[in-house]
């Protein structure tokens, strides 16, 4: 679950970090009121959980409540990388002395928490890694001992602060807060970019990003509720497929993909691409493949406006091909006819039986996934 900036900043604040005054606004009127209360100049920030919203026009400064009001009218409803702007975060404009980068992730290789710190920030870490990799300091924190003073010292001095200064203290408390947020909220990422020194000399997280482990949401009912109320980065279709229990990701092509298992489904997407097609989605029905589940998956894609061809690729050791075939037949029957084509590749038991059932509804069953993929791509051609 990706937290909105305003949610992330509220968490920072809850952990004692000083953040610029800000208000969430859902209408231009609320923006006007917020700008007035906070005092201009303010910054209007579109609350969409994608990177690069600034370049996409999702961040604007305003010198008066009126200007904020007018700007917000254009911003509400904007589309930023496929997401619609419904919330604006109105925040005090901060004059910045310098910008830094600080994030906390889980390092897979060492199985430790890992702080990435750079005295240069404001751009993506990918950018920093490319242009000045020597500026990135990695500080590993083992979960069995937790964050210690020597870690903090190492990070804060790398960011360029001097021991004993108030800035050192502020930066240290931000490091501590980020670590506590990471652990207490089962986060996968806690990032402050830019972390800034203001003209007044305060160390302030100008932007904040938190991603919480979806598997741990059951421990955090408040977040679960917030996600339910605002599903944020899922499209309508993703929400629909997830509700049924599928792993689903929206892509941009026209060949609908259904696979069992994440790796196989991805490789099916890649296969379609390899033969010149464009996958429309990733839909993983999970390891097994029952009649009911297959039916539901096919129904999802039958309802998908962009999908022209549905490519079902099931590899099952003990999965019965006749079951899968019946699931597809059921989906077609429930839909009551469709213009979409279906191509099935299937490895399991009772393949002949499955082939016969699919033949009834005019769906070809392939044994070779490559042949099936070629066919799907061919059928999708205009």
């Amino acid at each position: 679950m990706k937290l909105h900036e305003y949610e992330a900043k509220e968490l920072f604040s809850k952990y004692g970090v000083k953040i610029p005054p800000g208000r969430l606004a859902l209408t231009p009127e609320e923006v006007h009121k917020a700008a007035k209360e906070i005092g201009t100049p303010v910054v209007l920030k579109a609350q969409v959980v994608v990177a690069g919203r600034g370049k996409a026009g999702g961040i604007k400064a305003a010198n008066s409540p009126e200007e904020a009001y007018e700007l917000s009218k254009k911003m509400f409803g904007m589309d930023i990388k496929g997401l619609t702007v419904k919330k604006l975060y109105v925040t005090k404009y901060v004059e910045v002395e310098r910008e830094m980068y600080l994030s906390l992730i889980i390092d897979r290789a060492t199985r430790r928490y890992l702080f990435l710190a750079s005295p240069v920030g404001g751009v993506d870490i990918e950018e920093i890694a490319k242009t000045s990799p020597e500026k990135i300091k990695r500080v590993y924190v083992d979960p069995s001992v937790g964050l210690r003073d020597y870690h903090i010292r190492s990070i804060v001095s790398w960011l360029g602060f001097k021991p004993g200064t108030p800035q050192w203290q502020q930066a240290a408390s931000i490091v501590q807060a980020m670590y506590r947020i990471m652990v207490d909220h089962d986060a996968e990422l806690v990032e402050s970019n830019p972390l800034a020194v203001s003209k007044e000399g305060d160390v302030i997280p100008l932007d904040a990003r938190i991603i919480v482990d979806d598997n741990a949401l059951f421990k955090h009912p408040d977040l679960e509720k917030a996600l339910e109320e605002d599903p944020r980065d899922v499209t309508e279709f993703e929400a629909y497929a997830k509700k049924i229990g599928f792993h689903y990701v929206e892509l941009e092509g026209d060949v609908g993909i259904i696979g069992n298992g994440a790796g196989l489904t991805m490789s099916t997407m890649d296969l379609v691409y390899h033969f010149g097609g464009r996958p429309a989605n990733f839909l993983d029905i999970g390891g097994g493949a029952s009649r009911e589940v297959v039916k539901e998956a096919v129904k999802v894609l039958l309802n998908h406006p962009r999908v022209k061809v549905i490519f079902v690729n099931i590899f099952g050791g003990i999965t019965r091909a006749d079951e899968v075939a019946l699931g597809i037949k059921d989906a077609l029957a429930e839909a009551g006819g469709t213009t979409k084509k279906i191509v099935v590749r299937m490895k399991g038991t009772n393949e002949e039986l499955g082939r016969a059932i699919l033949a009834e509804v005019g769906v070809p069953l392939f044994e070779s996934a490559e042949e099936a993929a070629k066919k799907a791509v061919e059928l999708a051609r205009p």
Partner: protein, 293 residues
Amino acid sequence: MTVLVGPNTKVVVQGATGKEGRFHLQRMLEYGTKVVAGVTPGKGGTTVHGVPVYDTVEEAVKKQGANASVIFVPAKFAADALLEAVDAGVELAVVITEHIPVHDTLRAVNYARARGVTVIGPNCPGIVAPPVRVKLGIMPNSIYQTPGKIAVVSRSGTLTYEISYQLVRAGFGINVAIGVGGDPVVGLDLMEATLKVAQDPEVEGIVVIGEVGGDAEERLAKLYAEGAINKPIVAYVAGRTAPPGKRMGHAGAIVMLGSGDAKSKIETFRSVGIPVAETPFEVPRLLAELLKK
């Protein structure tokens, strides 16, 4: 012989009385695995498919000599189940369970490693070794009937079966197949598992199946380039068409902070001389070519 498992592997199934546990316990028995005990707290004294069930792993170890565990318990309790297995003294634990919170995994896996226990998973199909007919996991038995010299190491489940099937059809035999798990943090990662199978003299060739997310493939390539592995490797990497920032089914299959995309993994493999198949179906051919050399 095969790595990690052998004729003396005695398995306890944690979560043996649940639907999944019960089902796969039987499949493991059918495959030939010595499943000596099941564990479900509160169900001690019962049996599953003739296998005695205990309340604790400690009892299963003491009374049946179990030295390996395969874990099917629900995500909320799975990390604790792993800790229990470690404390009870097993040498190998395979965690099948998906959706374990990653911070829980982190703690449990680090604990196991510090105590010298090998963990496969979580969110994995397990390990199967045809030459000794031992399976701790959920791979379909039918695919793994042909013992041989090829090791398959993978971050995926069904894709592993698919490629194993293609290998067998092409005339290869399987020495061991390890699905290391699709979570960001796993007990034995793709690099470590590859290194392990490479050290087995019985293994002649290795198929590595990677995917988007993390840097295990890159670390493996580095190791290979340094000469730490001198066995032929063919790789396949799933997810070239996966968009950044999106989780592709597996919790670990995500391109984050600009790292982990499939293309760079493929390039890295190729840059150190590891051939990468364009499709899963190309793997057997590339492997045959490599072994001919």
